[in-house]
């Protein structure tokens, strides 16, 4: 068993850390507060070939593995949570094309996503299809050489900024998951519009918008993975998406822990730094240990994926554990900073609000536990 990155992976990680230290982290607060999509950062990721790390080179990617993608995602999220979240959501559009796309779809859609020329989004969730993902009501009908969709998606990350959308419609809404079909939409397709942006507890610069389909048309060749295979497309996409959420959560937790650690070594009470008190030391020790566990789970899930082994169970565990660690660690980080931690002068309160996202999106903690239970009890 090898816990070291190989030299190629390390070279990429070193370069990413430099980018994070010099450009992303110094303006992370600004990026969050701006309410604007972090295009400047995404542009940099594109220039550095970081928008398609596990995508084969022939499709515009870097031709590396999901482990490298995961490690890079953690660094990005640790430096700038918003950029990390965009990076994670982008993969949700790439991965189903990698997995199910025809040669033509890969050339037309995967290449510009992987070079970072375009940003992607993945639309599954609806007002009545959240945890009940098989209940997609957006109807899809084949008319001539097009598919026509009607319905609304909600909470779609990157929506509005993305050019390429993977949309799950349903050709037989009364048959639930069995009628679900995946389609590729481009921004601006007839009848396809972007709705309102949600005002969230955190991540104001990360768009989560509605996708509105009113007799929206996409060419027949844009069906992804075949008619009525959309549930499978969605579920397999979410397997990788869970690793993506896990790495985002690890990044948030790591950032909060580092703030708490640094603060504890400076803050003086009772004539000594608070890091000299066991009450604080134990918190830091727990944080560091839990983050390490969460990171290793994410790495393991990615490693299994890279080695062609089943990874759904570990992906669910990684997502569940990392997001709950992020919540605990950010909560404790605020506690270490005390009154200052509760103010907006320090980033830990923001990180705590951000951490909550990861327990909810792409399968709530409860859904992850169901997935895990189904695996271990079957």
């Amino acid at each position: 068993m090898d816990f070291e990155f190989n030299e190629d992976q390390q070279a990429v990680l070193d370069a990413v850390r430099e980018l994070c230290d010099e450009e992303l982290r110094p303006k992370a607060e600004e990026t969050d507060a701006s309410g604007e999509f972090p295009w400047e950062n995404i542009q940099k990721l594109a220039e550095l070939d970081l928008c398609g790390i596990p995508v084969p080179e022939e499709y515009g990617g870097l031709g590396m593995d999901f482990l490298t993608w995961a490690a890079v995602g953690m660094e990005l999220s640790r430096a700038c949570t918003t950029t990390g979240a965009v990076f994670g959501a982008h993969m949700l559009a790439q991965y189903p094309i990698m997995l199910f796309g025809t040669e033509e779809q890969k050339r037309k859609y995967l290449v510009p996503l992987s070079t970072g020329e375009k940003i992607g989004a993945f639309g599954l969730t609806e007002p009545n299809a959240g945890s009940d993902a098989g209940n997609v009501r957006t109807s899809a009908v084949r008319v001539g050489d097009e598919y026509v969709l009607n319905g609304t998606k909600i909470f779609i990350t990157n929506a509005g900024e993305a050019e390429t959308y993977i949309v799950i419609g349903n050709m037989q809404p009364d048959r639930g998951a069995r009628g679900m079909t995946a389609f590729i939409f481009e921004k601006g397709f007839e009848g396809f519009t972007i709705g309102k942006n949600e005002k969230k507890m955190a991540f104001p610069s990360l768009p989560n918008r509605e996708l509105i389909f009113q007799d929206a048309r996409t060419p027949a060749e844009n069906v992804l993975g075949g008619e009525k295979r959309g549930f499978r497309v969605a579920m397999q996409t979410l397997d990788v998406g869970r690793i993506g959420m896990g790495i985002g959560a690890v990044g948030v937790a790591q950032a909060a822990y580092e703030h708490a650690l640094a603060y504890s070594k400076q803050r003086v009470q009772f004539g000594q730094t608070i890091s000299s008190f066991q009450a604080i030391q134990f918190k830091l020790a727990d944080m560091a240990t839990e983050i390490e566990c969460a990171r290793l789970l994410c790495h393991q899930a990615a490693w299994l994926k890279d080695h062609g082994k089943p990874f759904e169970l570990q992906a669910a565990m990684a997502k569940l554990y990392a997001s709950e660690v992020a919540m605990r660690v950010t909560n404790q980080a605020v506690q270490v900073l005390g009154g200052y931690g509760y103010t907006k002068e320090f980033p830990v309160e923001r990180l705590m609000r951000e951490a909550k996202l990861f327990e909810i999106v792409e399968g709530t903690s409860e859904i992850q536990r169901l997935v895990i239970a189904n695996h271990i009890l079957k």
Binding site: V12, A15, E18, E47, L48, D49
Partner: protein, 267 residues
């Protein structure tokens, strides 16, 4: 095709350089290293010249140093340099700026038909700003120091020099050596594809014999510079503001000046 050499140096990755009190040499052990920041600008300038010529140039990164200096050359290849050469030999140890510029000049001769040599204005460890000009002297070619703008048109090099109180525009013909200041450009970052490609690039290593350097002109033997003492200059004390009427201030100032003159004359 224009042949460009960018000279780069590995320096300690800290501005807080420590000096060995015994030898007065820089302590390099246990200190992380990096490429000299001004040399990053030299690489960037070389790459921009190449791009301005539509790619019709060949950029070689050249460094002299211990085997570990290979890292900065690999980074230079990742940034877009076409080739990289490391001058490394135990005989080079102890080289001062004279011996270093001689050695680099020998290497540039060996590379052959070099049109343009780019250097950072100085290294952040030694701060001498002598190696670039030294190379030009050894090669007997024109030099333009402290360039803040640079363009190459055919055989003509034009540079804008940043001086303390003015700018100066200088033209000369190739072959020429130009040292650049930080403000000349914003060094790019290497893309990951290039980083990965550069990992497999062979960094050529040349010894003293390879560049036909004369033994008494390199290393300790070829270095006439003796460092007697290194110290931090005393902090400047703040000036004094004279107060009172103009007459009072002028007479006080004149008195001070006369005092200083007297003390200078007696010392």
């Amino acid at each position: 095709m224009l042949k460009i050499v960018a000279c780069i140096k590995q320096v300690p990755a800290t501005t807080n350089v420590r000096i060995d009190p015994e030898t007065n040499a820089l302590i390099r052990d246990g200190v992380e290293s990096q490429v000299n920041p001004f040399d990053e600008n030299a690489i960037e300038a070389a790459l921009q010249v190449k791009e301005a010529l539509g790619g019709d140039a060949y950029v070689v990164a050249l460094s002299m140093g211990p085997p570990q200096a290979e890292t900065i050359l690999r980074d230079a290849v990742a940034l877009g340099c076409d080739d990289a050469i490391l001058l490394t030999d135990a005989k080079f140890r102890g080289s001062d700026t004279l011996a270093t510029s001689y050695t680099l000049a020998r290497a540039i001769r060996k590379i052959g038909d070099v049109d343009l040599i780019l250097c950072g204005k100085q290294a952040i460890d030694g701060d001498t700003a002598q190696v670039g000009p030294g190379i030009a002297e050894h090669l007997g070619i024109p030099q333009i120091t402290f360039a803040i703008e640079l363009s190459v048109d055919g055989k003509q090099v034009t540079a804008r020099r940043m001086l303390e109180d003015s700018f100066e525009i200088v033209e000369c013909r190739v072959p020429a050596l130009v040292t650049v200041v930080k403000q000349i450009n914003e060094p790019r970052r290497a893309s990951m594809k290039n980083v990965l490609k550069a990992r497999h690039h062979e960094i050529r290593k040349w010894s003293a014999a390879d560049v036909e350097a004369e033994d008494d002109r390199i290393g300790f033997e070829g270095s006439p510079t003796v460092v007697w003492q290194i110290f931090t200059p005393p902090k400047r004390e703040g000036g004094r503001v004279l107060e009172g009427t103009v007459e009072e201030m002028v007479s006080e100032l004149a008195g001070e000046i006369l005092e200083i003159r007297k003390s200078l004359a007696s010392s």
